[in-house]
């Protein structure tokens, strides 16, 4: 599939898919849509975050986090209450970890589309290739080990509990640096890939990643790993930030013209509806 390389002023859209059933339109888009890879990565991102929320909050029920101040019998009881959920939920987590790759690639793509040096996209990609480790894998491994070895010394189970939550909440450096790289790229960019306010929101998100560091020290209060500041406020900021960038990435893909200059704006509403329909049918 060859893509037009020249700069255009109108957003590039695929020729209209042939009329017919949604299956034939889907097949047509799958084979011919010039943005099919971008849309694929975007949908992977949407599905991943949905699954992430459902798995961590409802299936494994390891979030919102329990208290770091619990004694060993309470912790072992907590594991036995969640035994099946942890095994099933983290089993799926291990399966979907690979979804991080196209997601992070799309985020790096947004930086490659900017007028800034390629260094930003490469730095982001490298640092975010680590993100799944502190962001979910270490916790999933520790929790699964504790759930699968209930006969071990309860002190060891308690140790795994601390290890899981501290690795999850206390290691936000990767996300902080990633947010800052993205922020600087957005503020320097002249192609208007993202609005500048999103750059400033990235700064807010990066600053909240610093705030979780005291979770290593405290067992109770606002700064513990389940605290109002270290967890609840951070979670609100993170969810808002994630929601915002998913929407903005969608807009970026709609506006993408595969050129090198400023991204064109979306056409007016009436025209947009038409091109949206063509974009969305996949």
């Amino acid at each position: 599939m060859s893509l037009p390389k020249m700069k255009t002023t109108e957003p590039l859209t695929a020729p209209d898919p042939p009329a017919g059933s949604w299956v034939s339109r889907l097949a047509w888009n799958f084979r011919h849509h010039p943005k099919r890879e971008l849309w694929f990565a975007w949908w992977v991102m949407v599905i991943f975050y949905q699954l992430y929320g459902v798995l961590f909050f409802f299936v494994t029920r390891v979030q919102p986090p329990p208290s770091p101040a619990w004694d060993t019998p309470t912790v072992t009881q907590w594991f036995s209450d969640r035994h099946l959920g942890i095994l099933a939920g983290f089993g799926v987590v291990f399966l979907i970890t690979g979804m991080c790759a196209p997601m992070n690639a799309l985020l790096a793509y947004s930086m490659r589309r900017m007028s800034v040096s390629r260094l930003f996209a490469y730095s982001y990609l490298i640092i975010y290739s680590l993100s799944a480790i502190p962001g979910m894998l270490v916790m999933a491994i520790a929790m699964t080990v504790a759930a699968l070895r209930p006969d071990r010394d309860p002190e060891l189970i308690h140790w795994l509990y601390d290890f899981a939550f501290l690795s999850f909440s206390g290691t936000m450096g990767v996300f902080m640096i990633g947010s800052l790289v993205w922020m600087v790229a957005i503020l320097l960019d002249k192609n208007c890939v993202f609005p500048k306010w999103f750059g400033y929101l990235s700064l807010c998100n990066a600053l909240t990643e610093v705030v979780v560091a005291p979770a290593w020290i405290f067992h109770r209060g606002a700064f513990a790993w389940n605290g109002a500041i270290a967890w609840w406020i951070n979670m609100v900021v993170f969810v808002t930030y994630t929601g915002v960038f998913i929407v903005l990435l969608r807009k970026m893909i709609q506006r993408e013209d595969f050129g090198a200059g400023p991204l064109p704006d979306l056409p007016d509403k009436g025209v947009a509806d038409h091109s949206d329909a063509a974009e969305a049918v996949r």
């Binding site: 503020l187 208007c192 500048k196 929101l201 700064l203 807010c204 600053l207 020290i217 606002a222």
Partner: protein, 197 residues
């Protein structure tokens, strides 16, 4: 950092008429205000649960440091406001002097803050001492990080004012808006930590 090269200059011009600097920076002011409202609410709620401890620990703070810091930051805000005004009038030399004055007051603030921390730590009041000092060190540190980021913003302002080929009034005002936010947050932190009893 400019966004003038974009394809939406008309919309931006319209928005710029309402607020000084990039409208986007005002979104940041909104985000930060919401975030700090969260932090302040947690502080005030924790305070109601153990008022005696908070009063006792608050008494260990030196109000003179707090007042001095507040004056230093208010002066820096006054200097950046004069910088914007001078820049609007095309008096770039005066604007530059005021920008440097802002940086100087910021440095005075930071130095005084560090001295205050050292003083508190020497008295045995550390981040882990009690709940009040957790909030005290947290709020003052996160604010200091904002001040440090503000120095980068002021660097952009100075860079813009330095050469006649740059001098984007919008960026000067955007930097000033950020600096005022830092000041505004400090006044609230000062009131909550030092004054509210």
């Amino acid at each position: 950092m400019t966004n003038r090269a974009g394809s939406r200059p008309q919309l931006e011009e319209k928005l710029t008429k309402f607020v000084p600097g990039q409208p986007d920076m005002w979104m940041f002011v909104l985000f930060e205000s919401l975030l700090f409202t969260g932090y302040f609410s947690v502080y005030l709620v924790s305070r109601t649960q153990n008022e005696e401890l908070y009063l006792q620990s608050q008494a260990a703070l030196d109000l003179r440091f707090g007042v001095f810091n507040t004056i230093a930051l208010l002066l820096s805000s006054w200097a950046i406001a004069r910088c914007v005004q001078a820049s609007r009038e095309g008096a770039y030399r005066s604007a530059l002097i005021n920008a440097f004055l802002t940086v100087s007051f910021g440095v005075v603030f930071l130095t005084s803050k560090v001295l205050e921390w050292v003083n508190e730590i020497q008295m045995g009041n550390t981040f882990t001492s009690d709940e009040f000092f957790q909030h005290y060190f947290f709020l003052t540190s996160i604010h200091c990080i904002h001040v440090l980021i503000g120095f980068i913003g002021l660097g952009v302002v100075v860079y813009q004012l330095w050469s006649p080929v740059r001098r984007s009034q919008q960026l000067v005002e955007t930097g000033a808006t950020y600096w005022h936010t830092v000041d505004f947050l400090w006044v609230l932190i000062f009131a909550l930590l030092y004054v509210v009893r």
